[in-house]
């Protein structure tokens, strides 16, 4: 693993979690795995911070949780997106895109000036 791995920026974990859950209801471990795959192992999600984030989102009503039988034969806690979560995801996603675009733009311009 030669690629340098960085911690994800503060506050984006919630957005990533919402995005992952938006595709299909998942349990905590599944979400961790999925995050890892999607970010192609570039982003390091501290597993210790995932569960507090899940509980926080559940508490804010953005995620709903349900205990369901799973592939292991045991019941697992599956998280899914609520209507409110879906709205929140849409706002945060577009906000994030705008921010990323803006930062990209600034970086490009700044380079130009220096040269």
């Amino acid at each position: 693993m030669a690629t340098p791995r960085s911690d994800i920026p503060q506050g984006t974990l919630d957005l990533l979690v919402l995005k992952v859950v938006a595709q299909a209801p998942l349990h905590g471990y599944g979400i961790a795995q999925r995050l890892q795959q999607l970010s192609r192992d570039v982003v390091q999600v501290q597993q210790g911070s995932l569960y507090p984030a899940l509980h926080r989102l559940e508490n804010r009503g953005l995620l709903a949780a349900e205990w369901r039988p799973s592939d292991t034969g045991r019941e697992a806690k599956f998280y899914s997106l609520t209507r409110k979560g879906r709205r929140q995801l849409a706002t945060e996603e577009s906000g994030w895109r705008r921010l990323a675009e803006a930062i990209g733009l600034i970086l490009a311009n700044a380079e130009g000036e220096i040269t």
């Binding site: 349990h27 905590g28 471990y29 961790a32 501290q46 597993q47 210790g48 569960y51 507090p52 984030a53 509980h55 926080r56 559940e58 508490n59 205990w67 292991t72 045991r74 019941e75 697992a76 806690k77």
Partner: protein
């Protein structure tokens, strides 16, 4: 899920959290093993990736917002354990808090019931009262007929004590004459049957005859809640009424503090007061209260303006007959005003508002003193627990966490105190309310444990916990963890606990002094009034009120009938003297007339208005009032004989020039057009109290009851008092049975009420007695708590300075010196406290001066007396630890430390 729901399901949430994390670990291990890792190694790595499992759980709890609840539950559980280890401390603390909080809740319940609650009727905020006392029925009819201009509805009522008995000894029930629109205006519906309407409010009774609506309370108490109550007959003042409805449980009439069990239409008053005494037509019988319901959105000012616009017509149509011109002018000018009646009109409120607020302050101070005591105890305990707290600090608890732990303990104490206190309060309030009733008015006050009282108690509980818990908590937060590592050392001098403890004790002493001063002032006020010289003997006199209103006796025969009854009473064995009078002293009623007195012609006319009573022979003997000059009335003073009067010394001093009043003549002003009545003074009697000792012994004229007659334009009142002096020393009430028998034999149709004169007098001072008793009780309680506080602080100081004292004694100090050393410090504390307390007392005196009689609020005797009491109690409290200090064995101290 709300946080509350989550709190309730806390255990389940905990289990789910554990299961969720376990599931994660299992899956990770499975994956790692599939990748070829050995299972033990996989387990170790999975755990490592997740971080500390307990820490993670804690973070999840934080994320869910339940951590504080988790911690609080823990703090409380731990607190219960800690408090359980010191049961005596806990019991003392809870008991003193229960007294303090209970007293506050009790007095607040009264304040709530009397001052804050609104009437239990529909939309009480729109109710207003026509201000200025009572009104006549003609005026009410004018207001009722013109109400559309200024109000949505209007109601009037007059109070009455209905006699339920059909003869002989009376049995009273408080009732109302109410206008037909009364129930509709208030918005009160019957829970059984119906209420009455304007159709029922006809003179002598409506289509269903005279009808009555009764209260739920009375329906239960008198009729056992009988289901067939509607349609039952009810005898009121010997007239037959029909019960047509029962009002809802909370509703006891429009007057706060009174409970009216029977309500009948205004028009039925015609059944009882016919002819010249007819209440409905009289333009100078003022007996009705008038209440209006404003239109939605209408303000009191708008309604007042509209009413003022109609004032000339209303006044003009209701001018009292036979008034002097100048009095009629002021009648016309007197402007109507409206006042909010949302809380209902209340004499009781006027009388008790200030005493209650004073008592509220008193119990607040008592609670504060209790808090100071407990704070001191907790501080001492915190010192003892220093090692434990330091150990917890050393093990990683934050200062905040320790402070919270101690505050949780304080909250537990104060909550336990509040629970016991509410029981005290329940019991205390019903006791208080029952003390307010007198023969004149049965006080009914609804003092429920409603949300206001509970919220107040909860607020007091939390505030209390903070007041006494904050200092120990802050101190705990500053505990140095290193202390845990040290051996508990010994030091020569006391630790630096002095500052706060000292301040608390000074505050306690100061506030106790304020309360003792207040108790002294109120007790002396009551004692002055209760033992005031009245000019007659109270204890042996029994008053028998004879009411011929509803009897068979014709008005013209009343004088003769009353005379027969009086003579029959005088002949009863055990009766020393018997007389009759229209009024009795301190009965709450008064009668005055304006006189033309030749010697006092230069006095302005309001100075010549004198209290009057009409009495018969035997009255002065019965009361033990000496006839100083001339003679008493006798049988020769009858209708048609020359009019005579007896005056008292105060009258002679004020109105008569010359050595003797005998033979002087004066005249009483009659209504305009009728000639004044001349009287000749035939006797002078001792001065006596007329209405209340507060008014002193005013000039009084006694006229001969037997000289009154219809013919001379002086109707004879339907009710007189036969005053009886018991020959023996026992209670005069013992005579009531034989008197009732004898009087009933003379005339079975009159109704009789028996009351000792002493009881009538006591009723004057109910308020003063209540305030005196309560302030004395709380003053004593404050004193006791201050003594305990002082004892505790001194004992603690002595135990801290054991070593120092031992060394001093070893160096030659004798016992007296040690005692002086200890007492010197106490004297300083008490001196400072007393000084502060005196300043506060002087400042607070202005608030209570209106409740005092016979002394100033800054009365020097009371202030010095209170200071002396406090100093004595303090000396006693400090004596025990001082003596213990003097008995310290220096050798033992030096050996063992």
């Amino acid at each position: 899920m709300t946080w509350l729901g989550r709190l309730v399901r806390r255990t389940r949430a905990e289990a789910e959290l554990a299961a969720e994390l376990r599931d994660h670990l299992e899956r990770r291990v499975t994956d790692l093993v599939q990748d070829g890792m050995e299972e033990p190694e996989a387990r170790r790595l999975a755990g490592l990736e997740l971080g500390g499992i307990e820490q993670l759980k804690e973070n999840c709890r934080d994320a869910r917002g339940t951590r504080w609840a988790h911690d609080l539950a823990h703090d409380l559980r731990y607190g219960v354990r800690v408090l359980g280890q010191t049961p005596i401390f806990t019991a003392v603390a809870v008991l003193s808090l229960a007294l303090g909080i209970g007293a506050n809740s009790a007095i607040f319940s009264m304040v709530n019931g009397l001052l804050l609650r609104t009437l239990p009727v529909q939309d009480p905020s729109r109710l207003v009262l026509l201000n200025g006392g009572s009104w006549t029925n003609p005026l009410w009819e004018q207001v009722r007929d013109r109400r559309a201009a200024f109000a949505e509805g209007a109601a009037a009522w007059g109070t009455e004590r209905f006699d339920l008995a059909r003869g002989g000894q009376s049995e009273f029930v408080d009732g109302l004459y109410a206008s037909g629109g009364y129930f509709e205006t208030l918005g009160v519906r019957a829970i059984l049957g119906r209420t009455f309407t304007p159709a029922d409010d006809r003179r002598g009774g409506g289509p269903d005859g005279p009808v009555a609506v009764i209260s739920y309370r009375w329906w239960q108490a008198r009729f056992g809640g009988a289901a067939d109550i509607i349609g039952r007959p009810l005898s009121l003042n010997r007239a037959r009424f029909t019960i047509i409805g029962v009002t809802p449980p909370g509703f006891l009439g429009p007057v706060v503090g009174r409970g009216f069990d029977v309500t009948v239409p205004l028009g039925t008053v015609d059944l009882f007061r016919d002819g010249p005494e007819n209440a409905l037509d009289s333009r100078s019988w003022w007996w009705l209260d008038i209440m209006l319901r404003l239109k939605p959105g209408e303000t009191i000012e708008e309604a007042t303006r509209a009413l003022r616009g109609l004032q000339p017509q209303i006044r003009q149509a209701t001018m009292p007959q036979d008034w002097r011109v100048q009095d009629l002018e002021s009648y016309l000018r007197d402007g109507f005003t409206l006042v909010s009646a949302a809380a209902g009109p209340s004499e009781l409120r006027k009388e008790y508002e200030r005493p209650l607020l004073t008592l509220m302050a008193v119990v607040g101070l008592v609670l504060f003193i209790a808090c100071a005591n407990i704070a001191n105890l907790l501080l001492a305990r915190a010192t003892a627990r220093r090692h434990e707290l330091a150990m917890r600090r050393a093990l990683g608890a934050s200062g905040f966490r320790l402070a919270r732990q101690l505050l949780a303990e304080s909250l537990l104490l104060s909550a336990a105190g509040a629970v016991v206190g509410l029981l005290f309060a329940r019991w205390g309030t019903s006791l208080l309310v029952s003390q307010l009733s007198t023969f004149r008015a049965v006080v009914t006050l609804d003092v429920p444990l409603d949300w206001r009282v509970l919220a107040f108690t909860a607020a007091v509980t939390i505030a209390t916990a903070l007041v006494f818990g904050i200092a120990p908590a802050l101190r705990a937060a500053r505990v140095d963890p290193n202390d845990a590592l040290k051996q508990q050392g010994r030091s020569l001098t006391a630790e630096g606990r002095g500052g706060l403890g000292t301040a608390l004790v000074i505050a306690q002493v100061a506030l106790s002094l304020v309360l003792v001063v207040a108790a002294g002032l109120f007790v002396r006020t009551f004692a002055t009034l209760a033992t005031a010289d009245t000019g007659f003997d109270r204890d042996p006199v029994l008053i028998v009120t004879v009411d011929a209103q509803h009897s068979k006796i014709a008005p013209a025969d009343r004088v003769a009938s009353f005379d027969r009854l009086r003579k029959a009473a005088a002949a009863v064995p055990g009766v020393a003297h018997a007389g009759a009078s229209f009024l009795t002293p301190a009965s709450g009623m008064g009668w005055n007339n304006r006189f033309e007195i030749p010697d006092a012609a230069d006095l302005p006319e309001q100075e010549r208005v004198v209290w009057v009573n009409a009495v018969t022979a035997g009255y002065f003997q019965a009361f033990g009032t000496a006839v100083l000059e001339g003679r008493d009335f006798n049988d020769g003073d009858r209708a048609g004989s020359a009019r005579v009067a007896i005056v008292n010394q105060a009258f002679v001093r004020k109105y008569i020039k010359g050595p003797s009043a005998l033979g002087h003549a004066f005249t009483r002003e009659g209504p305009p057009g009728s000639p004044p009545t001349p009287f000749e003074v035939i006797g002078v009697v001792e001065d006596a109290v007329y209405r209340s000792p507060r008014d002193g012994k005013p000039p009084t004229v006694y006229l001969a009851l037997q000289q009154r007659s219809e013919a001379s334009g002086e109707p004879v009142m339907a009710s007189v008092n036969i005053v009886v002096r018991a020959a023996g020393t026992g209670s005069p009430m013992l005579l009531s049975k034989s008197l009732a028998d004898v009087l009933a034999r003379v005339d079975p149709s009159v109704s009789l009420t028996f009351r000792p004169l002493a009881e009538q007098f006591d009723a004057l001072f109910v308020r003063e007695r209540l305030v005196a008793v309560l302030s004395a009780f709380f003053g004593g309680l404050a004193l006791l708590m201050a003594a305990i506080g002082l004892y505790g602080v001194t004992a603690y100081a002595v135990s801290c300075r054991r070593t120092e004292i031992g060394v001093r004694m070893a160096l030659g100090a004798d016992a007296g010196r040690v005692v002086r050393l200890v007492l010197g410090r106490v004297a300083w504390l008490v001196g400072a406290g007393v000084a502060v307390g005196l300043v506060i007392s002087l400042w607070a005196s202005r608030f209570v001066s209106s409740l005092l009689y016979g002394l100033e609020a800054t009365d020097a005797t009371t202030l010095t007396g209170a200071a002396a009491v406090l100093a004595t109690v303090a000396a006693l409290a400090a004596w025990l630890p001082a003596r213990r200090a003097a008995r310290i064995d220096p050798a033992e101290v030096l050996r063992n430390g």
